[in-house]
Symmetry: C2
Subunit: 392 residues, 2 copies
Amino acid sequence: MVNFDFRNPTRIIFGKGTIAKLGPLVKEYQGSAVLLHFGGGSIKANGVYDAVKKSLSEAGIEAVELGGVKPNPRLSLVRKGIKICREKKVDFILAVGGGSVIDSAKAIGIGVPYEGDVWDFYADKAFPKKSLPVAVVLTIPAAGSESSLSSVITNDDGALKRFLDVDVIYPVFSILDPETTYSLPPYQTGCGISDMLVHVIERYCTRELNVDLTDRLCEAVMRTIIYNAPKVLENPRDYAARAEIMWAGAVAHNNSLSTGRIGDWASHMIEHELSGFNDIAHGAGLAVLVPNWMKYVYKHDPQRFVQFAVRVFNVEQNFHDPEETILRGIGALRNFFSSAGMPASLKEIGIEEKDFKAIAEKVKRSDPVKGTVGNFLPLTTLDILEILKLAK
Amino acid sequence: MVNFDFRNPTRIIFGKGTIAKLGPLVKEYQGSAVLLHFGGGSIKANGVYDAVKKSLSEAGIEAVELGGVKPNPRLSLVRKGIKICREKKVDFILAVGGGSVIDSAKAIGIGVPYEGDVWDFYADKAFPKKSLPVAVVLTIPAAGSESSLSSVITNDDGALKRFLDVDVIYPVFSILDPETTYSLPPYQTGCGISDMLVHVIERYCTRELNVDLTDRLCEAVMRTIIYNAPKVLENPRDYAARAEIMWAGAVAHNNSLSTGRIGDWASHMIEHELSGFNDIAHGAGLAVLVPNWMKYVYKHDPQRFVQFAVRVFNVEQNFHDPEETILRGIGALRNFFSSAGMPASLKEIGIEEKDFKAIAEKVKRSDPVKGTVGNFLPLTTLDILEILKLAK
């Protein structure tokens, strides 16, 4: 186990009917002028927008609205939000939606008190020291941004998708009402499930030994997602299963599962370029990449992937032939993604072999000195190309 | 799953050598005049006291010392600590030790800014609204107090042991260095293991259905404790296993495992009276009580105890006879406690049948209106008597 420094200050208010608590909560956190940030029409169609407005107005809180956040949220809208907040003297940002809306809200939150351009933070040119308070009403369980220190923004100019991990952007509170997810279409539900499962897989695939507790906690979250996914896909109004998926999605990315271990994250970094390139849903891109990443790297610690197969997917272990067990485990993961409606190849998501080189070169390196990405096996550009070919 | 409101703000600094970070951390949290609170001589014998003093003095921080905390920490010492803090204008409390020291420090923390007597909070006569910041250097993994909102204090007058759960007493940070636990004697190690395992069992034993994620997370923590216990008992200097036990002890009680479920806690409430009565180690009292509590209550939801047996102790399930599976599971728990050096009967810890009535009547009721304790099966005084008889 490696040394760690862990804290997650986000307060989670979970369960049916909890949006009614929003107004008093914003007041408790001293919000008076709120930016209400959201995406398209779905929150208006499913009643969440009305419930949010009702609770805010009953608490006497005025809100300036900024909708229009798109998947892979854009820097241009973030800049617009910062401008509005400054003009209207906004002191509290409320994200109503999924990961894209939350990430956009977090970027606005750190952008408002900063004198330079907010992209500096994502381009590693500056480090954010403060933020306006950001709170969340979550409607799409997937990204885990509701209790994470992460934000991912796409720069319209050059389709550069870049992430930021920093303590000051933990939301102050997040309201998670599973009923808000009843109206999610099956494909979006599947993308969310795929995204949250991969958040755990990225942490699980470590080269650290002696990570018994967090291995088992990761397995608990993965099994919960795998067990409940068919339930929500079959019956979108299954409250119990929607609740399990929603809470699992938050736990998957609140960093408690990272304690004492070094995760991989290469698949995330590669996927950012896929969706930056072709506006692919993040979860779909991950579902294509991860089984192929596994096939490419497993030989560097086969026993980790035996454990994954046996403990996560109940694969019957072949004690004399670990490779068989490993490949059955990867196959089970691939089948799970398919059952959640996810694509299995880059071709299906519109990425051709001719694009591979440009994508591989664009991937942000986690080790800029060595020029590699990922930790389980640090990948060079050539490694990334091989994985893309496996996934073609 | 029931609705919940969860937050755990405590920052965990974990790993070998982390005590050296103490001084700068206290400064980061604006501590300037520190009360250094501890127990007996163990921290002086194992070098922790010196490491703490060194880090504080290198950071230029003066500390007033108050040692002498005993297991089942006493109200009298808490009152003394409050007096010292007021006289010396202490603005930061540092607990160095295990659960008793931390609980005592928390009581001092809420007592200093309160005009009345601190026992008011434990006697449900007042509700604490603020606290001096409390930080921890943990040396005994057991109580989980290092990242919990709980404090248990014993009133010398009447041997009343009472607990308090309140948000303001979460420590601001806790340093967990597994090497500090190398010198713990086997019996104390066993008591700690027993205590943390029961913290999970209390949460696990719920009547709520549809608590899939937290069931699995609880099982992950229990299996980690059970797997690593023989390692630390056999080799007290096994860093990896000590680290697993130490982190598991914190996760067991940081309330993440309580989300969406209603735990039982009757065994804890009964045990408080055992140790209030005879100064028994909390973990030892729990080890005696819990298997007998299980035997008394399992018929009210047998499937929960089948799941416990199968998933936690790998009991081979008899699908036609759940009772056999349940009793094997309880037997496995009993054997585990024995392997950790814990007593199996009240007699072994000096409690005779003639004392049962007084103990049963003294147990604090979680439902004062109905006069019952616990949630899985609300126990009356007669139920408590029956459980004590099973445990005699």
